[in-house]
Symmetry: C2
Subunit: 217 residues, 2 copies
DNA sequence: TGGAAAACTGTACCATTGGTATGGTAAACT
DNA sequence: AGTTTACCATACCAATGGTACAGTTTTCCA
């Protein structure tokens, strides 16, 4: 596949890469604050101190920018989730408790972001839908399927050790976390209650706990 | 307050009301299919067979249209939820079982809409955010608070009869259904899995059941 | 039945936005 | 030194949201 390209890569950024990165940074902030269609190219190029020609040198069109933003977001998101659940496994050898710790860390992370936490880019794109080409929608779907796979494998590992006390489909249970995260962000925004999201994650945690440990303990 | 205005109101529609309604119907279909910013006024007036002046006679601007769409959606949504949970109470005197029946009917309704079910208008608006004025955002928040109140009162009624087996905050549990509905719609859309939403509702149902009945039964 | 209010039409115009075209130039690599 | 990379400058275009304003038809009501 591709050569590994980490954030700590030795090679310095070329001028072009630096500019492209600056555009993405500016665009991301604006998209998360105001939404994609409310972020104009003129605004971006003014902030990045380049011309329109410069912008279109880096991106074919606005959809291409959306694609790049989404790729960036998914990459960062995966890195964060990796770190969180790896930390969980660090702190406990038991798959259930490792997952429960991961969920708690996840909830804490969401709480820390407080107001104006980055609305989930995936949801933002999902609601524009037809505006974006299949490539972008495919990326989006791949990201969601990645979450499903990630959470499902954790849940399956748990189920081997702790036979579920109630009959639930584990892949639905995996999707539930994604759904709660996206839905929780929406409710947080609409109600201006930043803590709502982490409360929902913790409620999910209680559900998982009950499924594998029962209501008693 | 206002005089009661039901769908079965005797008074015939005036010409103006009929036109306004036609505009809203056309706009709603387009917004649910393509998103708000992707629905042009030109497109709407062509379908409604009126002129631009005609459109702006009924709506101050596009945001005013969004507000009207949201009001309409919230009204219809409340009517549907009322019907579903009333039916649940019809079929069982027990508050828990009435709620569980309501949830099942809710899931069935969501499943019937199959592909291209109406994406939640509230979420659609939430992701445009800054684009809309405070009035619209207030409406949005009121709708969500309405759901919370509705589900919370049902849950409290249940908790009086069935002491919860696990310690959960009931208002968080009420919000969970809203979050799952919105999040489920997003996942359904992104993955093109129309059944996902109703599966999530049923999973929520299993959670509620476990909280009040325990894992045993 | 006539006059006022409601519900439009028609035309013209404007700013913003996404996007294209084209030709030129400075910086970086080789 | 020459090529490629990374832009700038200018001009232009169509779609879209919106305004202005004068005129016309429909409807209602006294």
């Amino acid at each position: 596949m591709n050569a590994p390209m980490t954030l700590t890569s030795r090679r310095a950024m070329t001028r072009g890469e630096a500019t492209r990165d600056r555009i993405l940074e500016i665009a991301e902030a604006s998209v998360l604050a105001k939404g994609f269609s409310n972020t104009s190219i003129d605004e971006i190029i003014a902030a990045a101190e380049i011309t329109k020609s410069g912008f279109f040198y880096h991106f074919r069109d606005k959809t291409d920018l959306a694609k790049a933003l989404l790729e960036r977001f998914i990459h960062d998101d995966n890195a964060k989730l990796d770190a969180i659940f790896a930390r969980g496994r660090d702190l406990s050898d038991d798959p259930l408790h490792a997952f429960l710790i991961g969920l708690k860390l996840f909830a804490e992370m969401m709480a820390e972001l407080e107001t104006a936490h980055p609305g989930c880019m995936v949801a933002s794109v999902a609601y524009h839908d037809k505006q974006f080409n299949n490539e972008v929608r495919g990326l989006n779907a791949a990201a969601v399927l990645g979450w499903r796979r990630r959470f499902l494998s954790a849940l399956e590992e748990i189920a081997e050790v702790y036979p579920p006390r109630i009959d639930v489909d584990l892949s639905h249970l995996a999707d539930m976390l994604s759904a709660l995260a996206d839905g929780g962000i929406i409710l947080s925004r609409v109600l201006d209650e930043p803590r709502l999201l982490s409360e929902q994650i913790l409620l999910y945690r209680a559900f998982v706990r009950t499924i594998f440990l029962g209501a008693g303990d």
